[in-house]
Symmetry: C2
Subunit: 338 residues, 2 copies
Amino acid sequence: MKNGKYSISDVAEMLGVSKSTVSRAINGNSGVGDELRKKVLDLVDEIGYKPNTIAQSLSRGRVNIVALILGDIRNPFYADLAFNIQRILNSHGYMVMVFNSEYDVQREIEFLKLTIQFNFAGLILITAQTEIVEDMLHSMDVPMVLVNRILPSYTGDSVLTDNFQAGYMAVMHLLELGHKHIGFVRGPGVSSASSQRFEGYRQALRNFSLPFNEEYVYESDLKMETGITLARNFVKDLKVRPSAMVVVNDMTAIGFIDGCRENGLSIPEDLSIVSFDDIEFSAMKGIELTTISQHVDKMSEHAARLMLKQLEEKDAKPERVILEPTLVIRKTTGPCKE
Amino acid sequence: MKNGKYSISDVAEMLGVSKSTVSRAINGNSGVGDELRKKVLDLVDEIGYKPNTIAQSLSRGRVNIVALILGDIRNPFYADLAFNIQRILNSHGYMVMVFNSEYDVQREIEFLKLTIQFNFAGLILITAQTEIVEDMLHSMDVPMVLVNRILPSYTGDSVLTDNFQAGYMAVMHLLELGHKHIGFVRGPGVSSASSQRFEGYRQALRNFSLPFNEEYVYESDLKMETGITLARNFVKDLKVRPSAMVVVNDMTAIGFIDGCRENGLSIPEDLSIVSFDDIEFSAMKGIELTTISQHVDKMSEHAARLMLKQLEEKDAKPERVILEPTLVIRKTTGPCKE
DNA sequence: TTGTAAGCGTTATCAG
DNA sequence: CTGATAACGCTTACAA
């Protein structure tokens, strides 16, 4: 017994039995007599012995930690996902380690390398980007779930919203309100979610012969602060402004709206805005975003379920779960007045 | 070499040297010739060998993970703290594992037990509560930093805002605006930050002979949703309402304001509100909280610094860092009209 | 400078 | 049903 903590050898010695017996007893494995098992368990309970997880991991060849890589935990959408996934996996005996890539490919690759070094039990990626990552992923033989982003050649488990449809829906809603000139704030190019929303938007524009204007397309790194900056440019640089904007995520939209109001634009009177995610804040008085829900609860449940499936069945078939987006109409969109 | 990964033995064998030599070389320890060291490093680099962190940890007796226990990662105040702390510790070679206690003592104790089992390198507690926890903490011989909460008998490293002063400041601000009847939404009783803010509030009331009314005191679990519920009761149950409220944190305040407006109260015309934290959202148009900043950046820097100090110096003296709160006046407080 | 070997705390294999 | 004993991959005295 070192450092105030008991080891399995201590327990074995105290009982005059072998380590194997103790190991079997505490792990609920067969091969120990009922009487002896009870004796072991009683002592373990009494002295408060806990097996050393590191040693277990080394022996078993993997650690019971699932790595979760996401862009930025400060974004409520990701925070919700992380929270829910963590809760579910915890309740099944797994730990979750959250990494913030800060939307940076280099950092993401670093974390992927860590996954190898640590022998993590599984890997959940909420922000998988570029071919480099894709190559690494292919060479990694570990349970893996992709959430909300898709990699072209990836065929494993994944759960995502139908982002094309989401983008399409956004435009349809604006169209019904009479808007014809509709701009778009996209996310980083490497985000498939963003690209697909953009595609849906383009398609809707085409289907209804609405004009597409390159000048009305902006790019955000998904942060609120960036939304504010973008809005300032939007207000100042454009001689003729669109009457509506589709914005890649709620955080950017909240910032964007803030920037617009700061510069004298009224929302939705002067400009209608639809975004995506439906984070908790978007329902608040004073915000009240019209947004397209990604159903973060379902998304996290599926992600956790798929991970557990891979963790617990050796050769489970890969699933691709596709969630339907839902339009939530609040107060940032209104009829077009022209 | 198993599972596509090289072990130190593989490297040693390929070079015809011993494992110890490889170990010394890659860890930058003395006792290897320059030439041989270079040979080792070159091969390691070429084949992309990475030491197995678990095996290292078992051997060294601790794993390079710092555990960070907080109430709820979905609260932006905590998310900011976690993000910053993680970033700093990562850059010094430590991993951070975030646990959501969900403000529940039982869960917190579970996580503490995990710290023992895992032999985590350090422990950062942003939500330390009750005597049970206190006892456990005392018996744990691991680098430890308490953030934003204080335990009576704890003498180790800690960083916190002067919450008493913060509570006092909140009242002073309202007093200057002419308010006399001031209520309070407190946090859970186990939160020392909340209790001290409450004490500061009480003291200010006493110092200026303002009336204290038990009916005007509510309790929140720090969540936005709860703020909404509280506000509904506040509006409906009270025949005579105070003209101002001090609310324990921004998230509750945002919900509270929402609930008030939903029930026809105007903020700040009918009711002034001051809260604490100054999360990013509080600056948004449509929210614009008057709030007391806890300087989350400084707070995280100190927390990380104190942890690193303990991690890297064997017998560093404990420090208690106390941050001055700052009042940020925005638009949820206004003059009292009576 | 380099190698040998013991140990870190478990689990798993194989005898008894 | 139970006990030795060998891994797991690395670090670290101690020898050479």
